[in-house]
Symmetry: C2
Subunit: 488 residues, 2 copies
């Protein structure tokens, strides 16, 4: 067992058997919907619905008590009325269930009585050596284990983003957002009231998770400040962390208090903490995942000098302006590079940075020959590429030169595939980050291809360049953390 | 003839007949592709390809000279080598063609010789009383007249956004972006080098256009400062203008100079000019269209006090934080409102602002009953609504209670339609702006429905709230322009 497998959250996220409280013969009940999603994901372990009266739920044999289950239970899931939670937790203790997800609400977030009840369940858990997440959470997702305990269908693929969120919606409602961008969670936690397991525990765990290349945090308030800083610093040396914090403004802070009852801190304090820990701060949930897409796939740049590679003046100028406003510099191409570019680019091109090709004489020029010249330049540490390769237009172009029906479509797909392969190979070949930007639909064939090859393409030049800027920031913060460590 | 129809650009955008230079029997030539798009849009007027040798192009009878065309020509389109442009323009003069779109490049943007050539074509045009747009532009689009002179297919519907852009890409490559958001151009101009017609002329014209509810400008540099300010001030009293300016940073300014040869100005200067004119500034092209969506559909708020209406704590807190950072205030609900809300909302709800319902007891509560209570509140001047109504889930929910195949689908569509109708009626009923935000796909049935009813839904809570903030800014700037006018 390595450190990852020894972590208390490992067993919660890799159960072989689950006992499920709260599903019933009413298919519209929250519990039944949630059990339904667990089954829809085709979880391969045993699932035991627990119900005082019913014998079959959602086609599964139901048990009166968790102590009746035929095999040991790794994980309990509670979608129960608040008042019966303590008793169910005692049952888990008696049956040796050591991991529990408590979805039920009505605890610390709702008045004094709720707070007391919350203290009581923590005591029960400690007495029995149980680790529970929640209460008042939505659940967890681990697509690699086909585990989805939330009430939303997991549409995305198993991915590389590990997420811990103080809002359940920013787990579940992101499934469709991630799917659209060709991304997915490696593991995702809705931490709810954090009565036992908090966002810092999840961060520590995700730091060890081999499928997690980048960690996303949605933060309303950090409860264990010192432990968080210590953990984040350690993790950020290994993999990037992106945080979206909403408690720092007056109204944001008020909203947080009424959402989870936590005390949010001043914006500047959190800014300082994030910087100190090597955490990249996002300014929206959309930006959090944009940054994760880039940070989870691209090599780190040496410095902030980037190239802008485009065939359109407007997107090039917009990218340059965004670069400037986000701490990036436009690399000065060497004479050697300029000479090589001039020899190949059309006469209408602007041979400087932004490089505006206007069009390419040969298709490979745009996806292979010219980007390679730019990336080889010692002054260039990263590149933004403006991309357009709509399949319908390629088909239209090819159609005039072929006669057999369907041949144009097949040739066009082959062509786009080979272009995508060339682009996706660029970052690895030069060990420099490359980020694409386009206004094309994410359903475009070339977008799908690039996404499958872990080449990041964002939905606008500005968002792509901000992604590059996040990468530069992380490279700096990481270097600082490592040099501080060397001094210590 | 009203002022709109008298404007020199009217005839360019409403031609009955077009002479087209530069298409040939080579279907892959720029000219042929562009002629193809004009035909694909099913332009209903006459189109005459002009070619020295060919007799038929794209199935149309071709003419050796524009003077040979059988009917008077309203508009000429040039996709010609630079050097033959002056001669073709002279031909237009001789044939009485008074409007021309010059796509050809190699003029003012490319050195001294190009500048001279540009001066020459301006002289020729003036001599013949011709108005031309360009050179070095991509063309124009007027979907109401089925007119698309660009080389991209116009995918979107005829819409309410009038756009003038100093980048052709930010016209053509936005077609698919607009389609995705359920938006469309009323009319769109790529102004190119602005040798004769500039962005200020387009602004003046779009100010008069009855299909244009909001004007978008992509600005690299404003050439006629005083005239621009005077025009913008006049137009902004009637309809909102949103501008995206990229020339204000060091690298942005440099990129602009190499793109169109124009001198960009300092960021603060442009900020001041925009504010003085009542123009809302966007910080990305995506934001420009987000703002247009809200400004083009919603009534103006009295002030900055908004309500946040949601069933999810995280999106509510994110919306509150974004509101704060963008100059909005969270309205304080009256005691009357709070009482009414408490009577209907479930016990798990947070009855304050943000209003977090967690769930609704009856479906109409979320889309009709509760939003009406909130919007009736005298302290509330606008509202953000977090929305989720995925058809697949509604079908799933209904399926358990119906037996006939297909019945669940039909009932679910009916249900979503009625919910959407209720939501779309809110702004008009209370004369207060309402903006939706969701992470659902824009292809979702409820998104399509709301978009068709001109109810704005943006792809995240943050973007929706920023849209509301733009509306508040415009309301203030407009009031200032009108009060200044009263003083004068």
């Amino acid at each position: 067992m390595n450190e990852f497998e020894r972590h208390p959250l490992y067993k919660m996220m890799h159960p072989k058997s689950i006992a499920f409280w709260g599903a019933s013969s009413n298919p519209l009940g929250m519990g039944s919907v949630q059990l339904n999603q667990l089954q829809a994901m085709r979880f391969e372990g045993d699932v035991y619905p627990i119900h005082p009266k019913e014998t079959t739920i959602n086609g599964l044999k139901a048990y009166k008590s968790v102590t009746d289950c035929p095999t040991p239970v790794d994980l309990g899931i509670f979608i129960l009325p608040t008042k019966v939670v303590p008793e169910a937790l005692e049952d888990c203790g008696r049956a040796g269930v050591k991991r529990v997800i408590i979805v039920s609400a009505g605890f610390g977030e709702s008045g004094e009585e709720g707070k007391e009840l919350q203290n009581r369940i923590v005591e029960i858990a400690k007495k029995h050596g149980i680790h529970f997440i929640g209460p008042n959470c939505i659940g967890v997702v681990n697509p690699y284990e086909k585990l989805n305990t939330t009430f939303f269908p997991y549409d995305a693929k198993p991915g590389f983003i590990g997420m811990a969120s103080q809002s359940g919606s920013f787990i579940t409602q992101m499934f469709v957002h991630l799917e659209r961008l060709g991304l997915g969670f490696s593991q995702g936690f809705s931490v709810g009231n954090e009565a036992m397991v908090d966002i810092t525990d999840c961060l520590e765990y995700l730091g060890e998770c081999p499928n997690t290349k980048v960690i996303g945090l949605y933060v309303e308030a950090i409860r264990r400040g010192r432990k968080f800083v210590e953990t984040a610093k350690r993790v950020a040396k290994k993999k990037p962390i992106v945080a979206y914090y909403v408690g720092g403004s007056e109204y944001g802070g008020k909203a947080v208090r009424s959402h989870t009852g936590a005390m949010a801190g001043a914006d500047l304090v959190y800014d300082g903490v994030f910087k100190q820990c090597g955490i990249i701060r996002a300014t929206s949930i959309e930006e959090l995942f944009d940054f994760c897409m880039v940070l989870g796939t691209q090599p780190l740049p040496r410095d902030e000098r980037i190239a802008i590679f485009t065939h359109s003046g407007g997107p090039g100028a917009a990218a340059a302006d965004t670069a400037d406003r986000n701490g990036l510099k436009l690399a000065q191409f060497t004479e050697d590079t300029l000479g090589k570019l001039r020899a190949i680019a059309p006469s209408t091109a602007t041979i400087s940075n932004p490089l505006d090709l206007t069009f390419s004489r040969s298709p490979n020029d745009y996806t292979e020959v010219l980007p390679q010249i730019v990336l080889k330049d010692e002054n260039v540490s990263g590149m933004f590429m403006y991309m357009l390769l709509p399949l319908a237009r390629v088909i239209q172009t090819i159609r005039s030169s072929v006669s057999e029906p369907g041949q144009a479509e097949a040739l066009a797909e082959q062509f786009v595939d080979s272009q995508c392969k060339a682009v996706a190979a660029l970052p690895g070949t030069f060990d420099k980050p490359v980020v694409g930007g386009t206004f094309c639909r994410t359903s475009e064939h070339f977008m799908q291809k690039l996404q499958n090859d872990s080449f990041p393409v964002l939905p606008s030049p500005e968002r792509a360049v901000k992604g590059l800027a996040a990468l530069v920031k992380y490279a700096r913060l990481k270097a600082k953390l490592l040099s501080d460590e060397a001094v210590e």
